[in-house]
Amino acid sequence: MRPLTEDESKAVFSKLANYIGKNLIHLIDRPDEPYCFRLQKDRVYYVSESSMRLGISVARPNLVSIGTCFGKFSKSGKFKLHITSLDHLAQYAKYKIWIKPNGEMPFLYGNHVLKAHLGRITEDTPEHQGVVVYSMNDVPLGFGVTSRATVDTKKLDPTAIIVFHQADVGEYLRDEDTLF
């Protein structure tokens, strides 16, 4: 477990900022306890400082996970956000999209969100913006990237994709072998 280098931090924060924007500061300066990011075997973990200090006593080959895993770095250095970060993203998300009950299952199977499944969407969502996908009961289901701005979605026909799928909670079942 080691802290992130400058470049790694930049990659992680830019990815996160795509979804939560300025609220990123809340991830670092928390009122209750300072949290930090640590890297273990190419995976980035978000963990409270006290837990991190206790976790140091676990040797590197034996440490599997600490706190919450946000994502991992690929071999070429790109950072990919995993579904396990959903909790924190959902808490601070700026742009949200709610999908209708009939659209839940297709999204959970890994498909993109179609216009026909759209329930609600925050007002001023720009194009290619990271959004968090909720069900109508306000249960976070995953996150994605918008294909068009909010104003443009009205012009689309029902079978058009409005949100590109990035991650969904169905991956806990579909990808359970590769998730960790």
């Binding site: 006593s57 996970s65 306000d138 289901l141 909670v169």
Partner: protein
């Protein structure tokens, strides 16, 4: 018509206020449930009498739940009703359970705080009347209240009356045990509380023996008819050679053992085996007879002229062949119980335990989760009074392990018995907790929920592969205070110590979960038990050493296994108590369960082992389980040290005196030693080269 008969409830309890609205009739409930809701809603909102009044309503409504799942209207009304009470949580941006509410939930049943509960919410009250539904009968509810006392208290009588009415349709058991023959109020099928009713008391002994005899006579008649038919088919089978003997009625016993039941001798058994094994019906018959004879040995067995041990041996062999166990395991499990209960245990292992889920209180409330699942078409009910996060699933249109609620981490599929060690351990917020064998993570996530994501939990599992599912579950349920590591549990105080609580759910033989994994029946041998027991003893010592004993209030260790054998449970606990004087057993805090054995087949354990708890599939309708809670404290040295110094010289003197006394006891006999002493003297002088004096006394040769 038949269904109405079966569903008939006893008269409702009298209402406290005469002014309250009349209980909606059964007819009304069947037709317009929504209206019935509205009707009862109004008066119930008046005052707290809602709780008392709602019980009879719930009793009637409880059974409607299976029909309810199709009724969207009814459920929509329910949803409305529940939303009304929701304290400002509905539809907000966070939409998650407020952390503070967990404190509320931690005390007792949660639903008593809402007065004026209407309609179907009551089914989520911890309400016993609701489980009278015959549809639910095969998947057993846990009613654990009266398992504690073996004397039947008054309260359950009304339910018993209701149950008696429903016994008609029950299929007869394969191996009727002594309990079956008794009055209909007890049966091992009926796992609620009735195991305790099997006790023979002076009052019902006569009735029971008469019933037994009547049954024996009936059975005998049936058997004879069977035999005659079998004979006609072709009696080349060795088995029936023995049976012919039976027909002759050699050993007539007075009190009605099935006419001339004779225990097959060793030769007959060998012949049986040679003929390719006995047939199932004969084995059943024999088992039944052996159980009867052993159950009333003085009355029945003495006359047969065979030793009790032979009956036992035959019964164990039959159990092994009938249920499919290897001989070693059949004997081992048989020795844990009295005869009739042993049969119940083996029977219970053939039937799966109910599916249960645990609400993740970090994300949702049990009530909301239940509502959401009901909307998807799942029939469920709270498990019982002892837990406020458990739900039992009866049937489901959707795969319960793949609903969006499951994926969102609102619940975890977990056996009811796995709740117990965490309830016993009771981790508090801001503590440091270790879970030594935590995969796949049900108990770890439960602890994180109880600690409200504060403090830190070290979740360890020796197998790296299994840590994957552990980590996935930890993340799915939103536990943020968990460190997952993969060490052999025995390394633990070395890696890190000073924990406030440790949970050790030790790897075990799995004899308590045979209903889940039948391969345990055949692949466990003596060597397996020896190895496992050794490993468990090492692990428990490491667990006891990993705590911070100097902590204010002491540190706690909970040891649990999913096994029922003594050498993995009480023996390990006793070993730990002997090896770690700073540890002692304390109350587990579980309201039900049988006490652990303090003596077993010649082995005696510490008296405090009584504080451990055992759970059985046939008695509690959960997997076989064992829970022991240790408290580790530094031994108080204050008083003894002051006296130690004063005592020391006194002690030393006492020791010296003792030594002398012992010397005197042994003593030396001067006379007998003289010749030897003289001899030695002469040798010494000779060695010097001088001439020794003449011998005076001849040393004995």
């Amino acid at each position: 018509m038949g269904r109405r008969q079966r569903n008939k409830q006893p008269d409702p309890e009298p209402l406290p206020e005469p002014g309250a609205a009349a209980k909606p009739s059964f007819k009304k409930l069947g037709k317009r449930k929504a209206d019935a809701d509205i009707q009862s809603k109004r008066p119930a909102k008046k005052a707290k009498e809602g709780a008392a009044k709602s019980k009879p309503a719930a009793a009637a409504k409880g059974k409607k739940v299976p029909e309810a799942k199709g009724k969207a209207k009814g459920t929509a009304k329910q949803a409305e009703a529940w939303d009304d009470e929701d304290e400002g949580n509905a539809g907000s941006g966070e939409g998650w359970e407020d952390v503070d509410d967990d404190a509320k939930m931690a005390d007792g049943p949660t639903f008593d705080d809402d007065e004026g509960l209407i309609g179907d919410l009551d089914e989520f009250d911890v309400d016993d009347d609701a489980d009278d539904d015959p549809l639910r009968r095969p998947t057993q509810e846990l009613d654990l209240g009266s398992d504690e006392s073996d004397d039947e208290p008054a309260p359950p009588t009304s339910r018993r009356a209701a149950k008696k009415a429903k016994k008609a349709a029950r299929p007869p058991k394969v191996i009727p045990t002594a309990s079956d023959a008794s009055s209909s109020s007890s049966s091992s099928d009926d796992d609620d509380e009735d195991a305790a009713a099997d006790r023979v008391t002076a009052a019902n002994f006569a009735a029971r023996s008469r019933a037994l005899d009547a049954q024996a006579a009936a059975d005998a008649a049936l058997d004879r008819a069977e035999l005659q038919r079998a004979d006609a088919d072709g009696a080349g089978d060795e088995e029936f050679a023995g049976a012919d003997e039976m027909e002759e009625g050699e050993d007539e016993v007075d009190t009605g053992v099935a006419e001339g039941f004779v225990l097959p001798t060793a030769e007959e058994r060998a012949a049986e085996r040679a003929a390719g094994g006995p047939d199932v019906a004969a084995v059943q018959r024999r088992m039944r007879e052996c159980v009867r004879v052993l159950g009333r040995w003085r009355a029945l067995g003495a006359g047969t002229g065979r030793a009790r041990a032979e009956f036992v041996e035959q019964l164990v062999a039959d159990i092994a062949s009938y249920y499919g166990y290897n001989d070693f395991l059949a004997e081992k499990l048989f020795q844990l119980f009295p005869v009739a209960e042993a049969i119940e245990f083996f029977e219970a292992n053939e039937v799966p335990r109910p599916v249960t889920i645990r609400t993740n209180t970090l994300r949702t409330r049990r009530r909301d989760l239940a509502q959401a699942l009901i909307n998807r078409g799942v029939t469920l009910e709270p498990i019982g009074k002892w837990t406020n996060v458990g739900l039992q699933v009866f049937e489901s249109n959707v795969p319960i392990g793949a609903t969006p609620e499951y994926l969102a981490g609102q619940y975890m599929l977990q056996a009811a018995s796995s709740f117990l060690p965490v309830i016993a351990l009771a981790p508090q917020p801001n503590e440091r907790v270790l879970d030594m064998a935590s995969s796949p993570g049900g108990k770890t996530t439960h602890m994180a929920a109880l600690m409200q994501n504060t403090g830190i939990i070290f979740a360890n599992d020796a197998s790296k592969v299994r840590t994957k599912s552990l980590t996935a579950n930890v993340h799915r349920l939103g536990c943020k205070n968990v460190v997952v590591c993969s060490y052999d549990g025995r390394e633990f105080p070395k890696v890190m110590g000073g924990f406030d609580r440790v949970l050790l759910d030790a790897p075990c033989s799995g004899t308590g979960v045979i209903s889940k994994d039948a391969s345990v029946k055949i692949n466990k041998s003596e060597r397996d038990f020896a190895l496992l027991s050794h490993l468990q003893k090492q692990l428990i010592l490491c667990a006891l050493d990993s705590v911070n004993a100097g902590r204010a209030g002491g540190a706690y260790v909970v040891y649990s296994t999913c096994s029922v054998t003594v050498d993995e449970n009480e023996a390990v606990v006793d070993y730990a108590l002997r090896k770690r004087p700073g540890a002692r057993l304390v109350e587990t805090g579980l309201a039900f369960g049988r006490e652990g054995f303090t003596r077993f087949r010649g082995k005696t354990f510490d008296e405090s082992v009584k504080l451990t708890r055992r759970f059985y599939p046939h008695a509690h309708n959960m997997d076989g389980f064992f829970v022991a809670k240790f408290k580790v404290e530094r031994r108080a040295k204050a008083a003894p040290t002051a006296d130690a110094e004063a005592d020391a010289p006194v002690k030393a003197k006492a020791k010296a005196v003792e030594a002398e006394a012992s010397l005197e006891e042994v003593g030396f006999d001067e006379e007998a030693d003289k010749p030897y002493l003289e001899d030695a003297k002469r040798r010494r002088i000779k060695a010097k080269g001088l001439r020794p004096p003449r011998r005076t006394v001849e040393a004995a040769a």
